[in-house]
Symmetry: C2
Subunit: 546 residues, 2 copies
């Protein structure tokens, strides 16, 4: 049997665009001789549609779009991820996250998702009803099971088994399947592809049948979908492996394995690089921009963001702006300039000295008799943000914000200052990972100036300031943050791992106190299992410290 996998990039709510892409992919796969064609989860409307699902018309339009597609599906079936909308008595809406089996110009059968993830970034219980039992279909004398994303993730995952009352894989194991299909929109984070492939191998063995897995690809807001659709046979052989962070439309013969590139060999940093470029590109273009604006401080964060942006939109479409103050060191302007030259991007210098002076004079009466402090530091950061936003408004460039996870975690950033921008590109990378990424970016050629990488990081908001005057050294800070935020350890557990108690207390307090800044932060691309953003929902005003 030849299975066509349409690993395509859709946009949330773009019914027409998505439909066109679905039908294009279908036609391509037909020409490749596919006998059965599968698409990602909710491909009709894009994932995640979030509260658009609460609009009845959105669901009606999803169904309409599916029907328009179904009309064009002939004898080769297409299995398409869709909203299944059931309007019941009392005008109560019931929604399922379903796969529609389209064949002979009709929708032959729906398969409903059994397990609705409702943790991290997922809110599916907010929208959908769960089906108790997974469904199968008989087709060409074969029994085929169709599941959706999470349905397979309980297998050998004790944490998940506890979450749900049913286990679709165990239910399906009672049937002799010839093929299991899974439609997914499974957002990527570092290392996810490895656990995912192992999971699918195990299930294929358990069910003793091949599995065809089609995952979404592309960026939608914070989430980046990596694709990496695959076909695995019960001997755990990888029959097919689709591209990573790229669209792929390809048919595979179940009986003859194709050449498989082992993406698992990619380094984490290579993956992160590809993920961020994809997330960035999709955010920019899907939101209707084609040019971006970046404040270049001469530091590592903005340099990395500029290099990523170059990959995403091309060097001509980036404007780098250095905004030195009286405090800025000579090297910081030079480093920014060198970076712009290395990347070959347009570059402007727009000093903030005069506006700073004007503001300080304006405030002088009110501030008289008081020490210079963070207020004056933030004025500089905010004037830079203001100038970037003015350029953005005038030139219609999207401002990219350049804060890393370490500084956003402890609030070492200025709200309405360096936090200005439409997308936070590296907000899920701790500082040490930003360094690693910079080295990766420089792997063939020095794009990010050596001095930017080697000099001690500084916000340059007061004379001779260094990050490490205010923060613990980054290797320590990042470890504490990892243990606190991602590993979920307590204060005393972290201290017992050998960190200084005072440092731990300081970091934890800062993380908790700065929820209010993160509430107003730009959306950030998620690349870790736990990013700030929709997957982490902390109260702002709260008094728990632990």
């Amino acid at each position: 049997m030849k299975i066509g996998i349409a690993q395509i990039n859709t946009t949330v709510g773009d019914f027409e665009g998505n439909r066109i892409r679905i039908l294009e992919a279908y036609d391509i796969l037909l020409k490749q001789g596919a006998e059965l064609i599968i698409f990602p989860e909710l491909v009709i409307c894009g994932y995640p549609p979030r509260d658009l699902l609460l609009k009845p018309q959105f669901c009606i339009d999803a169904v309409k779009s599916l029907h328009k597609i179904a009309c064009k599906i002939d004898t080769v079936p297409a299995i398409i991820g869709t909203v299944e909308y059931i309007s019941e008595i009392n005008q109560n809406r019931i929604l399922f996250n379903s796969a529609a089996w389209c064949e002979n110009r009709t929708i032959k059968q729906y398969f409903r998702k059994s397990l609705l993830p409702n943790y991290d970034v997922f809110d599916e219980a907010r929208y959908f009803k769960a089906e108790d039992t997974p469904n199968t279909i008989e087709w060409n004398n074969k029994i085929i099971g169709v599941t959706i994303c999470e349905d397979i993730w309980t297998y050998q995952n004790e944490k998940s088994q506890q979450k749900y009352k049913t286990n679709p894989i165990e239910q399906l194991s009672k049937i002799k399947l010839d093929l299991l299909i899974n439609l997914s929109a499974s957002p990527w984070h570092v290392d996810k592809e490895i656990s995912r492939q192992n999971l699918i191998k195990n299930i294929s063995q358990r069910l003793n049948c091949p599995i065809a897995y089609c995952n979404a690809i592309g960026g939608n807001d914070e989430l980046i979908f990596d694709g990496e659709s695959m076909i695995i046979d019960p001997k755990t052989k990888v029959i097919a492996q689709m591209p990573k962070f790229e669209e792929g439309i390809q048919a595979f013969n179940l009986n003859s394995p194709s050449k498989v590139e082992d993406f698992n060999k990619n380094s984490d940093i290579k993956n992160i690089h590809k993920a961020l470029v994809l997330g960035l590109k999709d955010y920019i273009f899907k939101s209707g921009f084609n040019k971006v604006l970046i404040g270049l401080s001469g530091g590592i964060d903005s340099a990395v963001v500029a290099a990523l942006a170059k990959e995403a939109v091309g060097f001509k479409n980036i404007l780098g702006v250095a905004m030195p103050s009286k405090i800025s060191s000579v090297h910081s302007i030079k480093d920014a300039e060198d970076l712009a030259q290395n990347l070959n991007i347009p570059f402007k210098i727009l000093p903030i000295t005069k506006p700073v002076k004007a503001i300080e004079e304006n405030l002088a009466n009110l501030f008289s008799g008081m020490e210079r402090d963070i207020a004056e530091e933030n004025i500089q950061a905010r004037l830079r943000g203001l100038q970037l936003m003015a350029l953005s408004n005038k030139l219609n460039h999207l401002v990219l914000t350049t804060g890393n996870k370490s500084e956003i975690a402890v609030g070492y950033c200025t709200l309405y200052g360096d936090m200005c921008g439409g997308l936070a590109v590296i907000s899920d990378l701790p500082k040490m990972q930003v360094y690693a990424l910079a080295k990766y970016i420089n792997r063939n050629k020095e794009l990010i100036p050596k001095n930017t990488i080697n000099k001690p990081p500084s916000a340059e908001l007061s004379p001779n300031q260094k990050d490490e005057d205010s923060l613990p050294p980054y290797p320590i800070l990042d470890s504490i943050l990892y243990n606190y935020i991602e590993a979920g350890l307590t204060r005393s557990e972290i201290i017992s791992r050998g960190f200084n108690a005072q440092t731990v207390d300081w970091v934890l307090r800062k993380v908790d106190q700065n929820e209010y800044k993160r509430k107003q932060a730009a959306p950030g691309l998620k690349i870790s299992p736990l990013a700030f953003g929709i997957g982490r929902r902390m109260p702002i005003v709260q008094k728990y410290l632990n």
Copy 2:
């Protein structure tokens, strides 16, 4: 039987503070002769704890705090809302949202919530497991049922019945109860108290027993809890009615109705006023501030916020700042000044003329040859935001942001400009409701200058600008917004209600396009059934228009 109701104001995560308040209330009620004392839902940790519940230590600390309380509960039982934490095999955590019946220095029984709300602002399925059947207890030869918040909300609510598989009230109706207790943390919105009281009356009739309902009171982030705890008897008589938007600690005899104030007679505006003052006060003090800063434009929004702030923190603790530009009209400074005088609050004038000039000169080269447009308008708004934030940093005042729901909906506000601030006080009030609130504030005395109320609204960011040059007249805008956002109507449904199609299209597009601004907005106090914020989760980059 004498029932003590402890309608107390707790802070999220403040185990110690909450515990002290719980024990104080218990003692007060003991002295009043209470024989049974009830507290709100999750009173141990405050509501909503959100992702703090994902920290195992948080749940352990909740249990510890409950045990500390239980030790001090003697023969008069206390029923206390708590996290019930069950650590199972494989270190899997199971949490219930429970009520603990404490008596004789021990926890005698837990009652687990059956229905977990997972819509609007609620994410309870993210954290808790649901109990299938509600529980009862025999006490003093009486059968008492204990439910938690949502457990009672399915009754006669078809929409909810569809959401859940069980109906605790129907289950309980099979038992002859002598009393039903409900512990709630039920956030307020306009008119909620009416539906709530009707619901409880109906259930009391259905079960043919009295109901003692204890609701939380106070503001936690966006949510405002109104209290209004009550005791209702099966003849639908209101035996007791606790204060609205205030703490209340009082014991009531089931057999002798107390004097009942009919809060349902309050006008919506009176309720909104009380709610906002409470939400504001709690946000300020619970976050550790005691002074606030408000940019006074001479317009209605900032005037209303200043008047509310005066109620919340007292006139001495507000600094009003007018920041006129060259464009500002004379009357706007005069109106701001009059307001400050009427409210008797400290007031400063901090013109932005010079910083605007400095910034414009700085950008002149880059902007040369281009028309003045929104870029220049936003520079003014952002310089005002910058000055307020500088004052906030220097003086440790919390900046209150003053945008209303209409302008936030269509993005008629400047990100990092007038959107600067820690709390959006009136962001859930459409403009016409802001006017109504202004009139209410002036009910006894002119606090908000007449001219502020009577003049046509203007952002004053370009010469002779009026809001209505850019926006539909507010009565029309507000109606369209209500129909789109709260009533969930489609474009064509709204047009069919008599609105101009072009206007409707413009409004709907603006709402959808400005999700990115709202993503970065300050948290706003919720007073409507559907506020921007945690209860409305729209994708930012999406192409659905309907």
